[in-house]
């Protein structure tokens, strides 16, 4: 009741409305960077994982090396992964995206492959009997049936990516992680808590969004559920 600048920022409180209003710009920029890094890495990961999964499905010899390499990549801790890419990409956003792409590959390839493998052989034969060629079979029968499993992988990959972007703060491109990192160095409690909570909010929102997309894309699964 005595200190002159007696607001929650001066008192360094965990929860602080003044922080939200005075640093709105910084928070917005960090959130946007967070979303961009996540979206870029998940989309790129998907673009690489789909052909890999198809290759592993079509060519028996390819399955073991594809799954093996992606599993090894997944075992490498995030900080080490980003560090290993440093000589290639330098201190850049590309480094963070590349690292996250490598992580998402494991989850995506594994789930897409599991989804494709779970398509019943009878279904495939029925489609062939109706005169479906290989491409049409893949696009209109196999991929839609693999979708629920593949989407489960995509959701896990996205949520993981949202969380791992924060580690990108080590190279200065960590979205909300940058705020956590600088908040740590300046002992700024409100900034660390706000950025952390926003990370979780983004992860949950992305998960729900993808769940909604999955429901829209696979209306036939709802009847059985």
């Amino acid at each position: 009741m005595t200190a002159p600048p007696d607001d929650c920022l001066a008192r360094n409180e965990w929860i602080c409305g003044d922080y939200l209003s005075s640093r709105r710009g910084i928070l917005m920029d960090a959130t946007i960077q967070h979303l961009q890094l996540t979206a870029a890495s998940v989309l790129l990961g998907l673009a690489i994982a789909l052909p890999l999964a198809l290759l592993a499905r079509r060519r028996r010899w390819a399955a073991a090396p594809v799954l093996g390499v992606t599993t090894v990549l997944y075992t490498i801790p995030s900080l080490a992964m980003f560090s290993l890419l440093l000589p290639v990409y330098g201190l850049s956003a590309t480094l963070v995206v590349a690292g996250l792409v490598l992580y998402s590959l494991t989850l995506l390839v594994r789930n897409i492959l599991a989804g494709l493998r779970a398509v019943p052989e009878e279904t495939r034969q029925a489609a062939r009997g109706l005169g479906y060629g290989p491409l049409r079979l893949l696009l209109t029968v196999e991929l839609p049936l693999a979708l629920p499993t593949a989407m489960a992988g995509l959701r896990i990959a996205t949520v993981s990516a949202v969380s791992l972007v924060t580690v990108g703060a080590i190279v200065g491109f960590g979205g909300l992680g940058n705020l956590i990192y600088s908040g740590m160095n300046t002992y700024f409690k409100a900034q660390v808590l706000t950025a952390s909570v926003l990370c979780v909010v983004i992860a949950v929102a992305a998960d729900l969004l993808l769940l909604g997309v999955q429901r829209l894309l696979t209306p036939w699964t709802r009847r059985t559920a």
């Binding site: 490498i76 801790p77 900080l79 924060t166 992680g177 990370c199």
Partner: protein
């Protein structure tokens, strides 16, 4: 190419291996953190998971815990703990964060393992007059063991990764070589640290994979001796 040779010469400089910041010290800290935290989280999570799995209760909790663990950024929790009063007491923030993040895989896998035991086998055991504790110890646990061990393996790899991140908040371990390399703007040191961390993580994964092969899989046909 020069990065590779520089990294190699960093790794082969004996001065980098010894002393309080040397590789051996950091490796020892990393190993100690991983082993101690794995023991703590096994002691906390496994009894709960096995009993819940035996009783068939709390399934939603066991499964959702993994999702929550994935959505919350490790880095954020490390920094948040550092800024709490616990943060001033040495390794505690690191230990708590490590334990928190290794509990979900342990809990989920052990629970699922117990639930997936063939209900006919459980009924047969009950028919033979076994008590709940006997059934758990002599029937369900041996059958659930492969999945329980999978959980322990995932938790161990997760611990190695989290312990690496702990370097960002001043914890010990191999991650310190990486963060020190970033502070010195020494790419060879960053890469050397990353290589050490990656090799360590892969060794831990390999060790558990080897251990899993030693455990007989009793879920298959009656081939067991």
């Amino acid at each position: 190419m020069s990065v590779l040779t520089d990294t190699w010469s960093w790794l082969t400089t004996s001065a980098h291996w010894y002393g309080p910041d040397g590789i051996w010290t950091r490796l020892g800290q990393h190993l100690f953190l991983t082993v101690v935290c794995l023991l703590i989280s096994c002691a906390l999570a496994l009894p709960v998971a096995l009993v819940l799995g035996h009783l068939g209760k709390g399934g939603a909790l066991a499964v959702n815990l993994s999702n929550i663990g994935r959505a919350v950024p490790t880095f954020a929790v490390l920094v948040l703990l550092l800024l709490t009063p616990i943060g001033s007491s040495g390794q505690w923030p690191t230990v708590i964060a490590l334990v928190l993040f290794s509990i979900p895989p342990l809990l989920t896998n052990a629970y699922v393992g117990m639930r997936e035991v063939d209900p006919d086998v459980v009924r047969a055991a009950r028919g033979m007059g076994m008590t709940g504790a006997q059934m758990m110890r002599r029937v369900e646990l041996p059958l659930a063991l492969p999945l329980v061990l999978t959980g322990v393996r995932i938790a161990a790899v997760q611990l190695v990764a989290t312990a690496t991140l702990a370097a960002l908040v001043g914890g010990g371990g191999l991650g310190r070589i990486i963060t020190a390399g970033f502070n010195l703007a020494s790419t060879p040191q960053v890469v050397a640290g990353a290589v050490l961390v990656a090799v360590f993580a892969l060794l831990v994964e390999g060790l558990f994979e080897a251990g899993r092969r030693l455990v007989p899989d009793r879920t298959g046909d009656r081939e067991t001796v």
